[in-house]
Amino acid sequence: MTARKYLLLFALAVPGSVFALTQPDISAIGDFRGYTGNWIDSTDAKTSRNGNFNMRFEELEVVLSGYLNPFAKAQIVISTPGDGLEIEEAYATIFKGLPLKTEVRIGQFLVDFGKLNLSHAHAYPFVDRPVVHRVLFGLDGFKDQGVSMNCVLPTRFYSKLSFNVLKGSVVGEDEAVEDPLDGRYTHAPILTSRLNGFWSLSTKADMDIGVSGFIGRYKGRGAYGTGDAELGYRNLYARMAALDGKCKIRPNDYSSLTLQGELILNSRDLFTDVFEKRSNWGAFAFVDYRFRKRYNIGFAVDRAPGIYDNGDGDYEQNIPVERSNTATAAFDDKNATKSFALFTGYSLLEETTLFRLTARWTSFNISDSSRLVDGSVESKRGEFTLSAQMIFSLGPHKPHEF
């Protein structure tokens, strides 16, 4: 019997009223983009996309959410990046009834490392995810499978402490591989934590400050993760710490000024010929002014470790993939990518139909070309990208606020 028949039988068996009551909220969010710019490859030639007006349906997100019972709710976000279909988030949250007002989330979810990562990219006031997030977390941000616990601390202001035990996909392979030497798995669960405080500075201004920590073993004991016993035994770790801040000022119901930023310190163990510990940092900040409720304008600055290769693959960092298992730029402690963006947006009614325009200037600072695959490259010309975005949302799920 096919799945459809089972579903039909189930629908017939369940009384209509009960079925209607237990249906989750269903929403769909579409993200369509047009973009152009100048992109130069490592031979200083224009890439095939240079100067063209490119269009792409970036993503469709289908969101199912609702209460499971009076104590728990669940959310499933299925997205279609490119041609594929993937589960972006799928988790249940027990938000009531646990001791010390603890909230527990289980499943796959965006991790509360920093503040911006918790929001889906369509909720940002600008078009693209900050480069530093793309380099350190991947194109979809920091999402992982595991268990998250948080509790509101008994302080006079709102403060929350969270602790996550995660599978570790952000630094390791999707599936842990058994080490041939000692039978242990090549990467272990990672641990992250975040402490944040929220203060109302006045009836018209709020501030949120958070610190996050991360430690994860991405290669197990098997001889620097290589499986070669002669090289010795050592675990390879990734460590990150972040400081984030957000201040929002609302002079009235129709306008607001948001200042938000994040600093991420990153340290990765690496074994190529010798054991190394490479440290680097990235940061972003933006100012977003919303006026007449439906318009916004602002600018963003961004700094990421390594040379962010815009998908052309000419500036990959000189880290063998089997040693890093993550974006290689995350291991680059010498070079950097910087960008400045101007953005504006307009929403037709609430957030159901959004138009955004972002102009981004990206510069590349190559101070040590030995970190790159092509060691002869001494510089990379800056890039300019103009992106237009149209987002539509159908159903109750809208971009999140604060």
Binding site: K73, F95, K96, G97, K101, E103, V152, F157, Y158, K160, F198, W199, S200, T203, D206, D208, R250, N252, D253, Y254, R292, R294, L349, E350, T352, E401, F402
Partner: protein, 295 residues
């Protein structure tokens, strides 16, 4: 032994303190908070998340609101999908003991759409017009809902709450007669309002709303719609445009200039204007506007 004695003393002080502590109420709107004050008096502490000069449809859920609700005994919701954001605050507060009261219970709801409701109709409330507190008769229904909640949470003071409720109802009855007398000349008049906020007020005081500045609920005014309104106002000799304090003055003023009508900033909630200090003076202010409009 001394330690045990000190501990017992501390416990006794703590228990005595809790016995005298006030019932903590958080309300979605200043109107519900004001009515709660009439019913609860000095036995309660009440805070409002929504402010009188803010649009209750759009309240940003902030952690500081969750903190308030985390310590509260009762949450007063407007309901009818006006303060849908309140659920986020309530869930975020993680308060297992919180009693959530939907104050729209027992209200005779106006403007309940028939048939399918979708976004092509604008930001239409599927359960009907949620601005029900703007009929003073509904103030009694709200007060009864709040009184029942207070008795549930604090049964010791049942008689106090019931006597305060009776006093509030008596006050409303006497003010009702006064307001009706003052607005008699306005009965049968037509007005333009920005949003459908004043449907219950119109129902209570016998005037009608001929049109809205918003072409559809929640949709910003358009030039074409403004022109239609100007013709409507001229054709029907409408003299009054009511604007909630939080809506832009631009379109109403422009329409008023072209049509000869007068724009009045009408508080749709307690605190919306300086004179609307509580639920009773909210209606004093509104009645004053209607009286001025009748001249």
């Amino acid at each position: 032994m001394k330690t045990i004695f000190r501990f017992a003393l501390l416990m006794a002080i703590a228990l005595a303190g809790s016995a005298q502590s006030k019932v903590s109420i958080v309300a979605s709107s200043t109107d519900l908070a004001s009515i709660a004050t009439y019913v609860g008096g000095d036995l309660i502490e009440v805070q409002s998340i929504g402010q009188g000069k803010s649009n209750l449809h759009f309240v940003e859920v902030l952690p500081s609101y969750m903190m308030k609700v985390a310590r509260a005994d009762i949450y007063l919701k407007v309901g009818l999908a006006l303060d849908a954001w309140a659920q986020g605050v309530i869930d975020g507060a993680r308060n297992d003991k919180l009693l959530v009261v939907d104050c729209s219970t027992g209200i005779e709801v106006l403007g309940k759409p028939t048939g399918k409701v979708d976004a092509s109709m604008g930001d239409l409330h599927p359960d009907g017009n949620p601005h029900y507190w703007l009929d003073p008769r509904n103030g009694k229904v709200i007060a009864n809902n709040i009184c029942n909640a207070l008795i549930t949470v604090d049964p010791v003071h049942k008689a106090d709450y019931q006597s305060r409720l009776a006093a509030f109802e008596t006050l409303l009855d006497s003010k009702w007669n006064e307001w009706q007398e003052k607005t008699a000349a306005f009965r049968g008049a037509e007005v333009i309002t920005y949003h459908s906020s004043f449907a219950y007020l119109a129902n209570a005081f016998g005037f009608s709303v001929a049109g809205f500045i918003e072409p559809k609920p929640g949709i910003e005014p358009t030039a074409e719609h403004n022109n239609e309104l100007i013709q409507l106002i001229k054709g029907k000799h409408i003299s009054m445009i009511l604007r909630d304090p939080y809506y832009s003055a631009r379109a109403p003023e422009s329409i008023a200039r072209e049509s000869g009508a007068v724009v009045y900033v009408a508080p749709s909630s307690v605190g919306g204007t300086p004179s609307a200090k509580d639920y009773i003076s909210l209606f004093d202010s509104l009645v004053d506007i209607l009286v001025r409009g009748a001249k």
